[in-house]
Symmetry: C2
């Protein structure tokens, strides 16, 4: 189960501190997703989708923590009940808005990813499969923490 | 970028043919997600979430195809505009409904995954971050193909 990099995500965020916690908190933040030439044939027909899932590797994350204090809460929670990066498989998923596709580059908005992050996959966001606007969201429903940007809490092993 | 298996997905689907194409097409299909003991501490607080993302490895998929005829369409499309399994990184994501959590096992409904599939990650489904019910879905919007179960089209390299 060895992953390969199919591209690189370019974003305004150079440091793990100050990154939007989720795409939805930075609708204006723009980035570019560079797909390596050998994979570009697979991008056809993607432009019809308003959003795409970026699947990527948290390459600057070190170590795993099974209990974390998430950005949006003030209590410790089980890792798998959070989107924190310190995971056994440091894989992130972000539904970003696709602005345009040109020469193997996706111009996207609502990016919440560090600059230089290795891209593993792109999937279309399909409202028919992915949108559950009524889904109950556990601790997020009652948390009064309204932080929208990251800090350094997950730095180091 | 080496992945590790953190558990195994158990489902009624033993063969790549006949699996629901997406979780939403099999709301009644139930499965169990076994999380290995060393990771179970991370499951705390997950039960408050109505849905969870399962992130897994398509372990029986062989080969990559950059152009595919998706299950839900009758034309060839670029791979990244589809959810087909023959990807450079054969990683799948499924938003399944969490029925209950007991002894390190998630009992889930709406499963669209082959029995025995290695689990890479679990993330909470957060309607605040993940639900875009108005998002335009490219070719899916106009396809008249209404297939809901897989066949063997992606078998072999």
């Amino acid at each position: 189960m060895q992953t390969v990099s199919i591209g690189v995500i370019h974003s305004p965020f150079k440091d793990a501190s100050g990154v939007p916690i989720q795409a939805v908190f930075a609708p204006q933040a723009q980035g570019e997703v560079e797909v390596f030439p050998e994979y570009r044939q697979g991008l056809q027909d993607l432009e019809g989708f308003e959003r795409v899932w970026l699947i990527y590797w948290f390459d600057r994350q070190e170590g795993v923590r099974l209990r974390v204090r998430p950005f949006r809460d003030d209590r410790e929670r089980g890792l798998f009940a959070t989107r924190a990066p310190c995971r056994p498989n440091p894989i992130g998923i972000s539904p970003v808005r696709l602005l345009r596709l040109e020469d193997g580059r996706l111009y996207v908005a609502g990016i919440d990813v560090l600059d230089g992050t290795p891209l593993l996959d792109i999937k279309p966001y399909c409202r028919q499969f992915d949108a559950f606007p009524e889904s109950r969201s556990g601790w997020l429903e009652t948390s009064e923490n309204t932080r929208t940007r990251s800090d350094n809490r997950f730095a180091g092993p």
